[in-house]
Amino acid sequence: MHVVETDAQLVARCRAGDDDAWRELVDRFSRYVYAISVQAFRLSEADAEDVFQEVFARAYEHLHRLRDDSAIRPWLAQLTRRLCLDTIRSGAREQVGDLPEPRDVDDTITRLDEALVVHEALDLLSKDCREILDRFFAQDESYRRIGEALDLPPGTIASRISRCLVKLRGELEGRNPAAVESGG
């Protein structure tokens, strides 16, 4: 198990001009930003890429405006949401009047917030479990490819995934609720 730096600590390091911290921040929130644009707003890959780059470019430029370093996640969510809406509106500029936000955006973002918490708990599992769960569920890899990458017999992958899910559940059940709420 390894200790994970809190969002606030990471933002503080970014603010101090630490390039490694910025790389880590992008790594930590890249899936979240991407998921908001393709799941909540159903943007095409091309539009999602534009939004993705713009979100991080603006975040880098305006990080000093963030009043509470631990609020980076909702700040990025709001920024992504605004840029997705701008993209949808600019793509439909022939239409009259403002386009409404797609339905269920709030619910989807809430679900993605929970997903981020689950991914944070994943970081607390053993490397073997982290890799196998991430490869199967987030990277859509087949049992065969996972077996080749992790040097495991293909027949054992399904059972390992199931057992690692049980461990992940145990990790979440054992977490301090306050830590979960702060995202750290």
């Binding site: 899936r31 991914h119 994943l122 859509d140 065969r144 057992r163």
Partner: protein, 289 residues
């Protein structure tokens, strides 16, 4: 913090897919790019007078050669670029987008229509998705019998989410490949083979994914027959059969679409997967006796 079971945990893990690595790298290099950009801006500012003079010279030269500014032409090009993606979207078959949202009867009617797509690839994706649904059902009924049943639900639902959209995706890429083949004479001769090959390779990518999912699902179903609730064992065996059938059908499409030699690694890959699926199905059928 809400209570999570393995099924919800799996869904939440799937909810955050990895964006393309190139996007992440580009965003990570923003500090470096920004410093480089600042440097360029500083140099450009220092060079402002030179650039102003250069632009003025260029404009005078263009005027002298008889060229006049034409803003309407630039706007027309922009408008054309904006309208093209919309036109492409409108031309896509409506049912292809909604294949999984349509009632089963309509899907079967669509499959029976004369057009080439949806065809075998879409049907294979639907069969594998059905197998995934059956595995989930049996695993739900097996929670009291096997501690890994929750994890099996999570995996089967991941397969269903992965493979169901492939039914519509196959229509799109297969239609594009057919279009390239039919219009081959209109392609520029020196790029013709290259473009046709690229279209057929794209058409083979979807069946490869269906084969992978089908083979893995057959293995998962076989495990479920061995360890799950005996009362629904036969359904798990049926799931293995469906999963293998979908994998086998999709693998055949890979071979035909690529039209390559036996040595092609993709053909070897899907054949090996069909072999694994077949072994798993035999285990499942034997255990369900």
């Amino acid at each position: 913090m809400r209570d999570y079971d393995e099924e919800i945990l799996a869904e939440r893990l799937r909810a955050l897919p990895t964006p393309p690595q190139a996007w992440v790298q580009a965003a990570q290099e923003i500090p470096l790019a920004r410093r480089g950009l600042d440097d360029i801006v500083d140099r450009a500012r220092a060079d402002q007078a030179f650039r102003d003079a250069l632009i003025a010279d260029l404009e005078r030269a263009l005027e002298g050669a008889g060229y006049e500014p034409h803003p309407a032409l630039a706007e027309a090009v922009r408008a054309d670029c904006r309208s093209s993606p919309l036109a492409l979207r409108e031309n896509r078959p409506a049912m292809a987008d909604d294949l999984m949202a349509a009632p089963l009867g309509e899907v079967l009617d669509t499959l029976a229509e004369e057009g080439p797509a949806p065809g075998g690839g879409s049907a294979a994706a639907i069969v594998v998705a059905m197998a995934a649904g059956l595995v989930t059902m049996v695993a739900r009924a097996s929670k009291e019998h096997w501690e890994e049943a929750g994890g099996v639900i999570g995996q089967a639902e991941a397969f269903r989410a992965r493979v169901a959209p492939l039914a519509a995706a196959d229509v799109k890429v297969y239609t594009e490949a057919l279009g390239a083949l039919r219009n081959r004479d209109q392609l520029e001769a020196r790029y013709r083979d290259q473009k046709l090959e690229a279209a057929l390779e794209r058409a083979a990518e979807i069946p490869i994914k269906i084969t992978e999912a089908g083979a893995d699902l057959a293995c998962l179903a076989a495990l479920l027959v061995q360890h799950g609730n005996p009362e629904v064992r036969a359904d798990a065996a049926a799931a293995a059969v469906f999963a293998e059938a979908g994998a086998r059908a999709a693998a055949k499409l890979v071979e035909v679409n690529l039209g390559t030699t036996e040595d092609d690694p993709r053909v070897r890959h899907v054949r090996a997967l069909v072999g694994l699926a077949q072994e798993a199905t035999q285990r499942a059928l034997a255990a369900a006796q």
